[in-house]
């Protein structure tokens, strides 16, 4: 029987700090519905974040929660998962936190295929510091540090993380909230490293500077520019210009890191026993 999201919230800490219309609350709702759909025990869930708007999420969640340093959530989470593999470790991070300062940890955690689910709240801007461009800001967009328009190309973060070795990579949007929660549930249920990029809106900084004044406009933009994977497969390159695919983008089966290390311990202890015998 599905619990309301309030079951997973530290309600005394609400309302949250995110601006009116910010998509982070929608993505967080999707995360909680995903956790609920899997029937996880609150005590076994550990949510880790770095620094930024999205990274304030754990404070509102009734789990083991850890708000770390900018970009390092996945490295902290690696330590938690190694020390206590039975925990469901979920990292909530923004596009700047994960793909800029945190990029090195992101690709290495994927390469190791350690059992961590990372949900990247991608609003293509640094919101907490009020509007600088990020590695996910589209070329040409305006930002406080791109007053002449962003001259950089954003990552395709899902391709990047999948190429690095992740077991499950998907992309969803705040608009397609129900699909997003299903993708996140699948990610959490995946044993290895799983990554979900959640396209979400920052009306306050990205929208205002890039003629999308309201959250509603930004959600409509998401609806009009998102193409489900199956549909995209039938579309030409020209038709896909300016669009992005949503759904499951990459799955593979690789041994999970802490399981592999458990085998190392077994070997080491067997050798030890033989020596002592």
């Amino acid at each position: 029987m599905a619990m309301p999201v309030t079951h997973y919230l530290r309600t005394s800490k609400m309302p949250h700090i995110w601006c009116a219309g910010c998509g982070h609350g929608i993505v967080l709702g999707a995360v909680l519905r995903a956790i609920d759909s899997l029937g996880l025990d609150k005590d076994e869930v550990c949510v880790v974040s770095g620094i930024g708007c999205a990274s304030r999420a754990p404070g509102y969640l009734d789990f083991n929660t850890l708000h770390t340093t900018h970009g390092r959530a996945i490295a902290f989470a690696t330590g938690i998962k190694m020390a206590k593999p039975e925990l469901k470790v979920i990292v909530l991070t923004g596009d700047g936190d994960a793909a800029a300062i945190g990029g090195n940890h992101l690709i290495h955690a994927a390469r190791r295929n350690i059992g961590i689910t990372t949900v990247c709240f991608n609003n293509s801007i640094y919101g907490m510091t009020s509007g600088q461009y990020s590695p996910m800001t589209p070329t040409g967009s305006l930002a406080s540090t791109a007053p002449y328009g962003n001259i950089e190309e954003p990552f395709d973060l899902c391709d990047l993380v999948y190429a690095a070795g992740a077991s499950y990579v998907a992309r969803g949007t705040a608009y397609h909230a129900l699909l997003l929660s299903k993708l996140i549930a699948k990610a959490i249920a995946t044993e290895g490293f799983s990554f979900v990029e959640a396209i979400t809106q920052c009306p306050t900084y990205y929208g205002r500077r890039n003629n999308m004044r309201s959250a509603v406009d930004m959600l409509k933009w998401q609806k009009e520019h998102a193409v489900p994977v199956a549909a995209a497969a039938k579309m030409s390159a020209e038709e896909l210009v300016g669009k992005f695919r949503i759904g499951e983008l990459g799955t593979r089966t690789r041994p999970e890191y802490t399981r592999r290390y458990a085998a190392v311990i077994e070997t080491a202890q067997k050798e030890e026993a033989e020596q002592d015998a």
């Binding site: 404070g59 083991n64 850890l66 340093t69 330590g79 020390a83």
Partner: protein, 378 residues
């Protein structure tokens, strides 16, 4: 395989690794860097034997982050590095200090700054060990001067970190790290281990940062039924962020008071012939070895010298220095840096004795004769 009791010839880094396991280390995250790499290599081999876990992370920042995460999950954790990596870890050390997560950070000093001479000893990270990260923060810095001391002092490092929930910097240097010496490994049963204070209340009563009279909040492991919040933001007793002045001030003052409360329990100093010393030496790490020889040589030549060997650098052993300064006419402070702890010795002496530094910064350890010559000049 906990180290079997008995006498062994060990390298300093090896003693650091085996001592750490004897102290209950069960998670190590590190990154290769001369002259500390042997610690990682030893632990990669030994930790799985005791059901512990080793991981080589992608950089030093990831390493400090991972050990804090593992400690929150209940594992006694350590990382090891040298100058450049120690600089990278400072933000993480500050996080561990502010969130009061027990962990040990080994820094094997080499000639700095920058890349310097990776294979040569120095003592230039002493102030960084205390003030390397931003803001006021508690930190404890221990410093061995022999391989045997490395084994016993690293155990103290873990016990202190667990007892007081303060990160401990274990400051070695390349000589102590790479030399080999005899070590008497005690039987496991003789090693006293300390565990972090645990909550005595039910989860719904638990205030993760409410400290009792001893100023150390009880700490629950993640996943143990105490679902609580840890943040590097200034936080109140409940662990949640606050910007209210009284609460911001209260946290800063409690952490400072906790460090002062811990000081007498964590200050380890060996004194050699100081009671009748006319001139004394204040030394630590590799330099303390030459200083001990200089004391014996001076005495043999009729000059009453003594040695204050600091095994705890921070909190600085001011009392020990003050007492000696009241009797000796001078204190010589030989250091493999341009003069760092000499400033603290001056402050602690407060004019009672002349304080004279002796710096050597050319990648070679200071010799007994150099110290002896300095003793004669003061």
């Amino acid at each position: 395989m906990l180290s079997k009791a008995g006498t062994r010839l060990m390298q300093g880094n090896e003693a650091c690794a085996e001592g750490a396991i004897a102290a209950g280390l069960r998670f190590f995250a590190g990154y290769p860097i001369t002259p500390s790499t042997e610690i990682a290599e030893e632990l990669a081999l030994l930790l799985p034997k005791v059901g512990g876990k080793f991981i080589q992370m992608e950089d030093e920042i990831a390493s400090i982050s991972a050990i804090i995460g593992a400690s929150l999950a209940g594992a006694k954790s350590m990382t090891a590095t040298s100058g450049p990596g120690f600089s990278l870890k400072q933000e993480g050390i500050g996080f561990a200090s502010y969130t009061e997560v027990p962990c040990v950070i080994v820094n094997v000093q080499r000639v700095g700054p920058s890349t310097g001479v990776p294979t040569a000893p120095a003592q230039g990270d002493v102030m960084q060990a205390r003030w390397g990260t931003h803001g006021d923060h508690p930190i404890i810095v221990l410093c061995p001067s022999s391989v045997a001391e490395t084994f016993t002092l690293i155990i103290e490092a873990f016990n202190i970190s667990e007892r007081w929930r303060i990160p401990v910097i274990f400051l070695m240097d390349e000589v102590v790290a790479h030399m080999r010496e005899k070590v008497v490994v005690p039987d496991v049963s003789q090693i006293k281990l300390v565990e972090r204070p645990r909550p005595q209340v039910a989860p719904d009563q638990y205030l993760p940062y409410a400290a009792g009279e001893d100023l150390v909040p009880p700490m629950a492991d993640f996943g143990s039924g105490y679902r609580y919040h840890v943040t590097g933001l200034t936080h109140d007793q409940t662990g949640f962020p606050t910007t209210k002045a009284p609460e911001v001030g209260a946290l800063a003052r409690r952490l400072d008071a906790k460090m002062k409360r811990a000081a007498p329990h964590v200050t380890f100093v060996d004194e050699l012939l100081v009671d009748d010393a006319e001139v004394a030496i204040f030394a630590y790490g590799v330099t303390a070895r030459a200083a001990a020889k200089a004391v014996r040589d001076a005495r043999a030549q009729g000059l009453k010298a003594g040695l204050i060997k600091a095994k705890t650098l921070w909190p600085f052993p001011s009392e020990h220095v003050r007492r000696v300064a009241e009797r000796a006419r001078a204190i010589v402070v030989p250091e493999m840096n341009m003069g760092q702890l000499v400033l603290e010795v001056e402050r602690a002496s407060a004019g009672r004795a002349k304080v004279a530094g002796l710096s050597r910064v050319d990648a070679e350890p200071i010799t007994p004769d150099e110290i002896l010559a300095r003793l004669r000049e003061v």
